[in-house]
Amino acid sequence: MRSPSPAFSSALLLGASVLVCPLSAQDSASVTRDPSPVSYRNDILPVITRAGCNLGACHGAQTGKGELTLSLRGEDPVKDHKALVEKFVNLGAPEKSYLLRKAILDVRHDGGKRFGKESESYDLLLRWIADGAPLDRPGEPSLVSLEATPQEQVLFAPEDSLRISVTAHYSDGSIRDVNRWAIYEPTALNVEIDPDGGVKSLRPGETTVNVRYLGLQAPVNLAFVPERPDFVWSGPPVRNFIDEALQAKWRTLRMNPSEPCDDATYVRRIHLDLMGLVPTEVEARAFVADTDPDKRAKLVDALLARHEFADFWALKWADLLRVEEKVLDTKGVAAFHGWIRRSIAENKPIDRFAREVVSSLGSTYEVAPANYYRALRAPDQRAEAIAQIFLGVRLNCAKCHNHPSERWTMDDYYEFSAVFDGIDYDIKENKRFDKSDKNNFVGEQVVMFADKLELKDPRTGQPPKARLLGESAELARDPKRLEELGRWMTSPEHPLFARVQINRIWFHLMGRGLVDPVDDFRATNPPSNPALLEALTDDFVKNGFDLRHAVRTICASHAYQLGTEPNATNFDDEINFARALPRRLGAEQLLDSVHLALLGPEGRPSFEGHKEPMRAAQLPGVQAVYRSNKPTDGDRFVRLFGKPPRLTNSDTERTSDTSLAQVFELTSGSTLNGLLMREGNALDRLLESKRPDREIVESLYWTLLTRAPSGEEWSATEDYLSSAADRRAALEDIAWALLNAKEFLLRR
């Protein structure tokens, strides 16, 4: 078995500099390089890059600007050299070179004046041209690494500024201060950075400054902490290692967590997070009344065993694995979704689950996970999808260019894609419903490994060699290599797989990833709490990639059980989990909860194409929602509230943002009003119970908001009901108000 190479692992030191230069003792003596002669690669390229000439809006555009085309941000120095010396350099009269005259605006230049005649930039260019504008000099040292210091620093007010120092290391062991030539890009806009690397905080908070110099980059993690002279650590309880890691950082940042949430909030939260449903009145009141000090943990265990947990967590994977009918057909969707759901129900370890997804071949009707490759029809699609879903790597940019601030290159892109070249389909039949859509398949297919190559590297026109992402060895052309891919990818030593998976589970429970977005792992997007991600990853691996164990562990933490109300020390922080952040319920959570609350445990919405009503979370595919000619209220509702069509490889395809159309649906639309008016619903049952109005109102509050009414609410709603001519209508109004309260619509 191939295990991930150590070089690859060390490249993922999250929250630390990616590039550490191994200088030997004699090299590290601060040798400053002789300033002359001027080197094209080491002096001129930085001048041109720093002046912005090779940016995408200027000469770095695909078709250049004016007469000059440069590679984007200096990605191709040889080509750029040719472009410059061909037309813009005058060796006979260096100071007449257009390169110089344009830059100092001695002649018309749409890009304006880039620097003055007295500048160092001008001087370097002039000397280089006078010297013949050579591309390379014999024995010229090359840039090998970049170091930015401090790698991380916490600053306490009134201290609010620091200087980043940037050092380039060269192949001959020399080093050079390149502060002036580096480019500084902060991830959060709470700082201002001057061109020499001076950072000044505009307001407290954390940021990562991505320092770039030529093709290299180094992140600098900074936190600016307000003074808070009166800060007193509140000493919250530590329930497990999660709290230890979070609290260490909170203390550093002089931040106290919010108060823990009460039992009523907890029971609602855990039901929504684990099953996608609000608790019933009976469940909620029983939990609140229970005096067992261990009741929260016991409730988690009880919910983990329920079939709704498998439904709801299968939905999350079905969103990511392209479980949709146009390519897989209805039968394939049923098979694949059923397999995912069974995997969750039987608690299949996530590593095994992932191995089966990436290495299954065979009939898509019989070998359910083979549907994944049925959905992904080209080698580069498969590579992009698997890198993003399982390894949190967004490879897409590297399809067309070597991004200066990304680790992954075009070589990585095409060589990893080549791993999947040769996957082919034996199409048994295709009764597609759309004759014009080449991506519509209805009928059985056998996914197999054929002896043919379709992928070509566009730069060479040749098939790239197959290579695992970040590894150096070439893979043999052999169907077994998909199994090798699975073993390599899910190995406990792989620096990304386990981290990405546990981070995604964390995201689903806490509302935000430690690395966020959850499918964008890179040195320049570090976790908000690296120590916690490490600890969670270790625990996840040690416990066999066990989803339920992970959920149990996170839910057991004090941090999971915090309330939403901020305090004076954590109100402006949204990345350290010192309070719960309210978020809108997802489409299925919302529709299923409304049905549960208004129609009871048997309440189910209907979906076009499905004979029996079912919970939205149980919908295997998306056809009812996205292709139906006669959409039901349920179809329209889940689409409107952000159920994804499952056409991309990203967790971000599911949306939870609000729109005016959603609020119209809840206010004047047919779904909610229809359920409120439906005969025999929970409102009818309450009115028929002949209980006093006070109890009716109380019961409705517990059913919809999982709490008793406040005194003010009790009197207002009781009064509204008892004074109404039409009691049914009045109760509908109260129920509408409760269902549209932020307490209902938000997970809190």
Binding site: G112, G116, T667, N740, E743
Partner: protein, 465 residues
Amino acid sequence: MKTPSCPGFDNLRLSRRQLIKAGGMGALGLTLPKILAGSEYPGGRPPARAKSVIFLFQWGGPSHLDMFDLKPDAPSEYRSPHKPIRTSNPDLLTSEHLPRVAKIMDRFTVIRSVTHNMKNHNSAGYYALSGHAPPTDDQRLRDSIDLRPAYGSVVDRFAPNPLSGLPTFVSFPHVVADGSRTPGQAASFLGKRHDPLFVPRNPNDPNFTLPELSLPNNLSIDRLHARRGLQELIDRQARLLDHSAEARGLDDYYKNAIAMLNSERVREAFDLSAEPAKVRDAYGRTTYGQSCLLARRLVEHGVKFATCYFSSGIGGQSITDGGWDTHGFNDTRMYPIVEQYHFPITETTLPTLIYDLENRGLLDETLVVWMGEFGRTPKINKNASRDHWPNCYSVLLAGGGVKRGYIHGASDETASNPIEKPVKLEDLSATIYYLLGIDPTSEYHDSQGRPLMISSGEPILDVVA
């Protein structure tokens, strides 16, 4: 294997703000340079010449050779079988079947050199509706959040109407589709909050109303207010509104929805029955005619971007409905069809809209865009009809700060290729944003967080009056 180009590639340019930061000019003591060729507006937005846009999307692809780029001297297999007639623009001829249209050509800029390479309706349609090239030329290009937003959604993102007023972006009366929904009609990665208020109703229906603005039968406005009162009471309890931006954002939508349900002005904007019968007749008692009237009412009331789709499908085989896709399939023929259906509708509606805007003093501040996703083949096919032709076709602009009676660019002798000032759809998008006072190099982030420019073209300054 085919390797389609990366759709965002040419957009991987940086915004002016980043240029300045990256260029570090501050330290060199330089003033803000005119970095972007064609930018006449250093430091931010171009001046707004148009307050609003009426975007008339001619789905299916009208024939440029038979409407606005006639070639009467071309060989018979190319030239229009219709007789050319003079128009109020001395340099422009049109079809004998469009005499009213001929009279208003002095109000228009006609761009005769629009060119792209997408031959399928969905890919070309997306290109025309968003100003961005799709990743592939695919008959069933699928809508996904990887693709770009509609023009109106971008306008809503960068120059929205204030809350509780008219929506920024309204589209009607169809969703356009060719087998699958055509991308480019909604907000995509900008988020649902920037989706259009979509009105999938027929304005020519005597009972035309906006379902969103109508309450269900059992629900009076008073009852809705009572519900809202109870909701506000409950919302006060948990104090979520005090400390959650999410909760406040959600509540803003309730305020807005209820304000709209309550607003006379909003109801009025959509109330076509307020128009005199004479005006309604003048626009034509067709879905498209009444939709154009609705568009005028909407911009008059403050909507910024009104997209009116000619048809839901590509059509071309019927004289009672459908779009401009006249291949002559199934034994139909293009000319009888356009003569009986598409031309008469255009003849009735387009001049009426222009005159009406002009008479109300709205034309100067309203940009009218009339365009399809492509033109049609210069050479008449074996069905005496024309197929798809993206290489060269004509787009019409009027009002909103563009020149009157102007022709931009030119095509060759068979209208097959531009021979002068070729215009990309990217340039057209930059022009629309520019006229609205939105910097075309403004930046948004896609679903992967990549910074992208809203347009990768250059505004066509030649068409600006």
